[in-house]
Amino acid sequence: MKKGLDVEQVMEEVNRAVAAPETLLADLWKEERPQAPNLAFLYPPHSKSLRVNLDLVSRNWEVDPEFELGSSRKITGSAAVAFKGFERKMLRWYINPIVHQVRKFNMLVTRTLHDIGNNLESLEDRVKRLEETQRDSDKEGGG
């Protein structure tokens, strides 16, 4: 049965967050976000936020330079779209190699993050098994 997190652990985290909000925020907020003292977001360690973020990374690593062109202008819109298409065509020699590099980098980072995630899970399993073995041998040793 899934046991979840104890309230005791949650309250310890809350206590730490209140005691040192800036430290926690530096860990939790994205770098480009402004400092926001006294607001802390406590996610479960590793588990859910890592899985959620990996899922998002996997769905967003691809960069597509051929996105659909549009215009908000009612009358001259079609002309604007045609012009944008022409511009895009003319700049492909410059943009596409860069996009290709970005895609390649994103793909490698995504793959690496997945590897790290998998390694973390197997490490956690290993630690859990070792702890169980240790506990069993303690019990046997102690009676």
Binding site: M1, K2, K3, G4, L5, D6, V7, E8, V10, M11, E12, E13, V14, N15, A17, V18, P21, W29, R33, A36, P37, N38, L39, A40, F41, L42, Y43, P44, K48, S49, V52, N53, D55, L56, K139, G142, G143
Partner: protein, 599 residues
């Protein structure tokens, strides 16, 4: 009346496992502060030096059976060798409370008809594994309360139970004289449940004491490499042969319970507790799943057994769910136990509710809403309940040492008024105030919805701290710990079905701040539950619901901090009333009375 200690013999049964026996005897002799007890080790033919060790001890008698007579034969030999009350104690137990024996004896003699007293058992990790037993039907796989939960102070009062296990059990001599020892038809397992039933059949009651003993569980089986499943299966067959018919006949009425019964939602939690209470009240329930039977994953043994009873449309049926699902009820007689989030029930809901034989609503507000919506079916007030074993002031709490803690639960949906709460709180309290707002929340979408929404609010910089606890999977049985770790619960909901958290918090003795609207209105009184003003605004679905006033909320939050002591005292008093009048047991007996009328 003052407690008068009486002579009692603690029978420690051992079959090898010398190391655990040493710890057991050591703790027993060291910790126990009862003035008139003796210890007898009953040895079932150990070959690991247990008898020699016991002979070397002072104050422990030895009874050697010479061979393994099993749990039953071994204990019976001990019972026959003594003339006093006995405590049957496994050798894989350790005493952690000096007054354990005195408390068990005191409870046994608190009423003439108490014959058997068990106790709370925790394992070596501090998890509560036993606080009484029950026998689910039709599987007859005996189960223990609560099974395996962190010991947070649940089941911490003396209480009558169906059965207890014999790892640590006090038996009065007068009961032994009447019904004898354990039934020798069993070798091991089920003999304790059998004994409790025999005691009850003889007019005695079985209790579980508030005292706690540590139990390592199945050490003998493990040490001696015993065939657990073979022995268990055989004992179960023996037990069913003896008691199946009698146990099945305890049910005096029947119903079909239709709801969301599995998963982590409020309907499922309430259903589980209520089904337990109904089962104990003699109602044989079978289940119909609003979520679909194929999608239902049940973890509770008793409820799972109810699922295995199949379906029966001839029974009265209670549909406990959103009013939009009233049409799902398909029994011979149908009841809808429903609540609207709005000021009224929608017209299409009222139409379906009028097809039912009876409509149960949880509050006076909901009754008015049903009447105003044109519900003509008979309306009965059946309030929501709370489990007093898990929500009371003795539950473990982890409060912050130097700050007043406001606690709130938030869903980031349209029905949540947490934006108003955040604005009111951050406007009212600055970094100089010794307060914190803890927001326990789940994100309906992955990817930082809570962070983005809070960031977009652009709250002022000089504010008291807010801590969002996001997506932590706290087991629901520990929610009492959350309430006990806080100083005030703040309900910030637009919907009218807004009283169940307030009820849980109150049962724990926690003051509550809640909208003066909806079902929670029934709870607003004195200083224990303070209401704040709301306007009525159209919901996205049409009918009106509450829009909390930020100014009123600010004032109420400030007052909660200013009069904290008075409010806590008032909440403790009101909590007592909530635990007795709104326990699931009380709600179940109200339901049984209504079902009797319907039938």
């Amino acid at each position: 009346m003052a407690f008068e200690p009486r002579p009692v013999t603690v029978l420690v049964l051992a079959w090898n496992g010398l190391e655990v026996t040493k710890k057991c005897l050591d703790s027993l002799l060291r910790e126990t502060n009862h003035p008139d007890f003796k210890v007898m080790l009953v040895d079932n033919g150990s070959t690991d030096g247990t008898p020699d060790y016991v002979r070397s001890l002072e104050g422990v008698e030895l009874l050697e059976n010479g061979e393994n007579l099993g749990f039953v034969g071994g204990n019976n030999a001990g019972i026959e060798a003594t003339t006093t009350d006995v405590v049957l104690l496994n050798n894989d137990t350790e005493m952690i409370q000096g007054d354990w024996l005195a408390l068990m004896q005191e409870l046994a003699y608190s009423e003439d008809d108490i014959g058997v007293v068990g106790c709370r058992l925790v394992n070596d990790e501090g998890r509560l594994v036993h606080a009484g037993t029950y026998m689910p039907v039709p599987s007859f796989w005996g189960q223990e309360y609560p099974g395996d939960e962190k010991d947070i102070g649940q089941y911490c009062d003396d209480r009558e139970v169906e059965g207890v296990i014999a790892a640590c059990v006090y038996i009065k001599r007068e009961l032994i004289d009447k019904i004898g020892g354990l039934d020798t038809a069993y070798f091991s397992y089920y003999e304790d449940t059998d004994y409790c039933i025999r005691a009850r059949e003889s007019g005695y009651r079985v209790f579980c004491s508030r005292t706690t003993v540590m139990h390592l569980e199945n050490a003998s089986t493990a040490v001696n490499r015993m065939d657990f499943s073979g022995t268990f299966r055989k004992s179960r067959e023996t037990f069913m042969g003896k008691w199946k018919t009698a146990i099945e006949s305890r049910y005096t009425s029947k119903l079909t319970w239709r709801s969301f019964i599995s998963g982590e939602n409020d309907f499922a939690r309430a259903s589980e507790k209520l089904l337990w209470a109904l089962d104990e009240a003699g109602v044989e329930a079978n289940l119909a799943f609003l979520e679909g039977a194929d999608r239902a994953e049940l973890t509770d043994f008793r409820v799972n057994d109810m699922k295995n009873r199949g379906s029966d449309r001839d029974r009265p049926q209670v549909m406990f769910g959103p009013p939009a699902r009233a049409a799902d009820a398909d029994g011979r007689k149908n009841v809808g136990w429903v609540a609207t989030p709005y000021e009224t029930f929608k017209q299409e809901w009222a139409k379906e509710l009028n097809r039912l034989d009876e409509v149960w609503v949880p509050s006076g507000f909901q009754r008015e809403a049903a009447l105003a919506s044109g519900v003509k079916a008979k309306i009965e007030l059946v309030p929501f309940g709370v489990d007093p074993e898990y929500f009371h002031p003795g539950i473990e709490g982890y409060p912050l040492s130097d700050r007043f803690t406001f606690l709130t639960f938030a869903d980031w949906g349209a029905g949540s008024a947490h934006e108003t709460l955040l604005r009111a709180y951050t406007a009212e309290f600055s970094s100089k105030d010794k307060v914190v707002l803890v927001v326990v929340t789940k994100q309906s979408e992955p990817g930082g919805q809570a962070e983005e929404e809070v960031e977009a609010m652009n709250l002022g910089m000089d504010r008291a701290p807010v801590v969002f606890v996001v997506d932590h999977e706290v087991p629901h049985y520990q929610y009492g710990c959350l309430y006990r770790s806080a100083d005030c619960l703040v309900v910030a909901e637009r919907g009218a079905d807004n009283d169940h958290r307030a009820l849980e918090a109150l049962a724990c003795g926690l003051p509550v701040v809640t909208p003066s609207w909806g079902s929670a209105l029934d709870l607003v009184r004195d200083t224990a539950v303070t209401g704040y003003e709301c306007d009525l605004v159209p919901s996205p679905e049409g009918p009106g619901w509450a829009e909390p006033s930020a100014d009123s909320l600010r004032a109420v939050l400030r007052a909660a901090l200013a009069n904290a002591e008075d409010r806590r005292a008032a909440a403790l008093t009101m909590g007592e009333q909530v635990r007795s009048e709104r326990s699931w047991k009380a709600i179940a007996s109200k339901m049984v009375a209504r079902l009797d009328v319907l039938r």
